[in-house]
């Protein structure tokens, strides 16, 4: 049987794909750098959901999927911290968080 309690794998993947695509839109089409970061976090969550769904359905007795998902958690946290520090630093210098205004190497 390829489902747990009546749930096959497919719906999880569709939800993860939807989350990823929404995050992609947020990362590309928003004017606030923090909103761009929120889109990126949504994408990372979608990836994690995908990994754990495949772990559960395909190989629940190995730890590869879980370990990969754990590393994605770690990388997402590190990247959010540095990204937000950069955004705050840019705001202090430029008084703006619009990513379109950051088009020079020197401010």
């Amino acid at each position: 049987m390829n489902s747990i309690n009546g749930l096959p794998l497919a719906p999880f993947l569709v939800v993860a794909a939807g989350l990823f695509v929404i995050g992609l839109y947020g990362a590309l089409a928003r004017k606030n750098a923090i909103a761009v970061l929120m889109g990126v976090e949504l994408m990372l969550n979608a990836v994690n959901l995908n990994l754990i769904a495949f772990w559960r359905y395909v190989a629940p007795n190995s730890s590869a999927g879980l370990a990969f998902a754990a590393f994605v958690f770690i990388v997402a946290a590190a990247e959010a911290a540095v990204g937000l520090a950069l955004i705050i630093s840019v705001y202090r210098n430029l008084r703006s968080v619009d990513p379109e205004k950051l088009d020079q190497m020197k401010m």
Binding site: M1, S3, I4, N5, G6, A10, P11, F12, L13, V14, G18, L19, F20, V21, I22, G23, L24, Y25, G26, L28, A29, R30, K31, N32, I34, L37, M38, G39, E41, L42, N45, N48, I52, A53, W55, R56, P60, S63, L66, A67, A70, F71, F73, I74, V75, A77, E79, A81, V82, L84, A85, I87, I88, S89, Y91, R92, R95, V97, E100, K106
Partner: protein, 220 residues
Amino acid sequence: MLTFSTVIFVILAVVTLGAALAVVTMKNVFHAALMLVLAFFGVAGFYVLLEANFFAAAQVLVYIGAISILIIFAVMLTRGVTMARPNNEQSGAVATASAVLFVLIVVLVGPWKINFPGFAPLNLPARAFGAPPEFKMAVQAVSPDALQRLGRALVDQYMVAFLLAGVLLLLAMIGAVWVARERKLVEIVKERREMAAEEAAAAVPPAPAAEAVATTDAHH
């Protein structure tokens, strides 16, 4: 098939995707951040459905307990930026591209067969990746010591990645503290004067320098 899990899945899917849409379309960034928290809760619910309860708790702890707070702090510290429209000029193109990408993922990469009436059956995944187009693997139960195995694997097979992740976190911590450090007023004035001097030397009008010195940060 209408079981408890199916109902919960539908509720969680609606909540998560709805919250995600709200995140990327809301004008008020603070409200968008709160909707992001809701989306994270939804994903944590999915992890519980997938019997990865450690990761559900880790999701709440890391994303909601730490990253969301970071984002909300950043929103609060960068107030005063009002925008007429939350999206930039390319949002229409991006929306179309995202929708197309979603359809492509579902149709081409998904482990299911899609049959359009009147056409030959779509066999692309089988040809592209050599895998059967429909997911028919039997699902095994999760062993009760999956968590112990994960812990052992992290320091056994994936030791290098684990250590690198630790180093990455350390570097991120140091980097974030350094980049966002509080600078003394004297330092900032000196920085601004240097930047103004360079701009003047590059034959650009020095108007930004006067403004920049006058509007030093209020929290000093």
